[in-house]
């Protein structure tokens, strides 16, 4: 293998693992936000459980994805070069970090596909992209996910309220705590089997593309292990900013609502992935929380937050695409350009991390407030006022 190729493949693997990490980090909230908000699980316990289940999930599912782009790119006409993958990954990572900074949940896979499509447009031309598939697989499902999950969760909440309203509310609260824990764990496990596998697929397909692995073979053990570890570690670190928004920002949640939301999320995720209408986990989980908020009398849904969230979902694909396209421009300057853009992305990631330190959200203060502000100072003024 040439040195240039070797460097690019090495970079793809490293960047793919970083993406895997941000994926886990960003998505802890999906499984655990409501459990943390209701106190069904202590914050540290919740992320430990989610991390462990993601690791187990990674080992349970090792079938290689057939395509990298899930049909968004016409892979018969356009060969997806490792540079495109790299650019797509960088677009996805930076978008994940930005949305985490402002505490908004967004789909990691939409970001990845967006980054890839952006890179392919620059690298190989717009003809390689199935724009119809972008509409039916990305944009429409974003809206439909909220409707399905919201309706399921709304119905479940109404039923629960009707059946348990004459009971001692303390017993109701503690009874649903157990149910909520189980459903949250199911969501976490299903995340591990799906999302770790995406990164495994990317690394494996890259190895196949450069001839380091035979086509149509399963991921090598080290690939499975590092991908599982990266996503589990990311999940364990916990994207606390997103956890706060989902658990506290959208609506007030008690354990019955948390149970309704988690049970609906698990149901929608499993039915949609097995009945052939794939929906994003992030959007399903957010939709369930909105649904349970609507289903509870005297409870308000914070439509400002919900609206910003939906806008973030719709923007995810094009925004990651722009970063991917920009990154791909640099990879055209050969290995030096590729190394440069990876370093630039590292710097950008570090800047976002520094910005987040101005007003950190962590296991200790995740439930203290309902909003994620960028500046701690404006927080204190707001509290004083």
């Amino acid at each position: 293998m040439e040195l240039g190729t070797l460097i690019v493949v090495g970079l793809v693997i490293i960047v793919a693992l970083i993406f895997d990490f941000t994926n886990g980090f960003h998505d802890t909230a999906n499984a655990m936000a409501t459990s943390i908000a209701t106190g069904a699980l202590k914050p540290r316990t919740a992320v430990l459980a989610a991390g462990t289940l993601n690791l187990i999930g990674a080992f349970l599912s090792v079938e290689v994805a057939k395509t990298i782009s899930g049909g968004l790119i016409n892979e018969d006409a356009v060969t997806i070069a490792p540079e495109f993958i790299l650019a797509g990954l960088i677009g996805a990572i930076l978008w994940n970090l930005l949305t985490w900074l402002v505490g908004l949940p967004s789909s990691s896979s939409h970001a990845l596909f967006g980054g890839l499509v952006g890179a392919v447009i620059v690298g190989a031309g717009a003809a390689g992209v199935n724009f119809g598939a972008v509409l039916t697989k990305i944009l429409l499902p974003s809206i439909l996910a909220v409707i399905v999950a919201g309706l399921a969760s709304f119905t479940a909440t109404k039923i629960i309220t009707a059946i348990t309203k004459r009971m001692n509310q303390d017993k109701v609260e503690s009874g649903f705590r157990h149910g909520q824990t189980v459903t949250a764990c199911l969501v976490a496990l299903s995340h591990g089997t799906n999302d770790a596998q995406k990164t495994m697929g990317i690394i494996t397909l890259t190895l196949v593309a450069v001839g380091a692995q035979a086509p149509d073979t399963n991921p090598q053990m080290w690939v499975v292990a590092v991908c599982g570890l990266a996503i589990a570690l990311g999940t364990y670190m916990g994207g606390w900013r997103v956890i706060r928004t989902l658990g506290k920002g959208l609506t007030e949640i008690n354990t019955p609502q948390g149970f309704a939301a988690e049970a609906s999320s698990a149901t929608v995720i499993l039915t949609s992935s097995h009945l052939g209408f794939a929906l994003s986990t992030t959007q399903v989980c957010s939709g369930s929380i909105i649904g349970t908020g609507l289903g509870t009398k005297g409870n308000e849904v914070n439509w400002g937050v919900a609206g910003r969230m939906v806008i973030a979902w719709l923007v995810t694909f094009p925004a990651a695409g722009l970063i991917g396209a920009f990154t791909c421009l640099f990879t055209k300057f050969g290995t030096a350009g590729t190394v440069f853009i990876v370093l630039a992305a590292l710097v950008a990631g570090f800047v976002i991390f520094r910005l987040s330190r101005r007003n950190p959200v962590n296991a200790m203060n995740v439930n203290d407030r309902s909003d994620v502000k960028l500046n701690a100072d404006s927080d204190t003024t707001a509290q004083a006022a």
Partner: protein, 74 residues
């Protein structure tokens, strides 16, 4: 093209209906289980028995979900 749209619409409708029905079923079973369990604490044996049946059904649903999640099983 029209066929494709129909396929998407049917797929979506199937997911919508199944998800709402299943979520409603889980909510009903678990809340009934809790309520009847409380009633059972006051000495109602039948209520306690039905409550156990409800929780058992929830366990079956969770096992089915696990079966769906783990690809090796199917």
């Amino acid at each position: 093209m029209q066929e494709l749209i129909m396929q998407e619409v049917t797929g979506f409708a199937t997911v919508l209906i199944t998800a709402v029905v299943v979520a409603a079923a889980i909510a009903t079973l678990y809340s009934c289980g809790l309520r009847l369990w409380e009633k059972g604490a006051e000495g109602a044996v039948v209520a306690r028995a039905i409550s156990i049946v409800c929780f058992a059904a929830c366990v079956v649903i969770v096992l089915f979900a696990l079966w769906l999640i783990v690809p090796i099983f199917h």
